[in-house]
Symmetry: C2
Subunit: 107 residues, 2 copies
């Protein structure tokens, strides 16, 4: 496991980690609060957060004794761009796609 895409897709391949990412969409969270809804130990969640951090999908910052977890959605961009080479995205020009996004976001 060297490649950045490797680590991102590997991080996404676990349902618990995808759930954590969804939670962080709402707001930044402390490790303990991330762990709360799951039926597994805090240590297990801590490990998942390390994997997410190493992949770049989240970042962690310690303030006092609380470690805050923050979504880093840009990391998904790499994966998205790779995936655009395929399937329904086959014929789609990336520049046109981004222009579309800007337009959408201005609404």
């Amino acid at each position: 496991m060297q490649n950045k895409l490797d680590t991102i897709f590997a991080a996404l391949s676990d349902a618990t980690r995808r759930e954590i990412l969804s939670m962080l969409l709402e707001d930044d969270m402390a490790v303990t609060d991330v762990a709360e809804p799951f039926e597994m130990s805090l240590a297990a969640i801590s490990k998942h957060l390390v994997i997410l951090t190493k992949s770049g999908l989240i970042s962690q910052e310690k303030r006092g004794r609380v470690k805050w977890c923050k979504l880093e959605p840009d990391a998904l961009k790499d994966a998205s761009i790779w995936m655009q080479g395929f399937g329904q995205f086959e014929a789609v020009n990336l520049d046109a796609f981004e222009a579309f996004l800007e337009q959408e976001l201005e609404k």
Copy 2:
């Protein structure tokens, strides 16, 4: 590993398998031909193809003694849709996105 998204992302987390998918973008290929550029045994590639098949990213069909591998890009759709919840795709309406795609594809 039960979930469909689990298997898709796990399949994508290996550089060899991503490379295979890229090769299949060009055209359907026999197992032996898929294996040719890689410095690993045919058996190893065969295993990778099983993983890709189980995830739905490719399909395999045997004709005579040759087993043909075919890209199934629709499987990536599930992963793409999941990812649209994040980052730059945050505010993008999926219907609008698909309308855009159709428009693009007609060009």
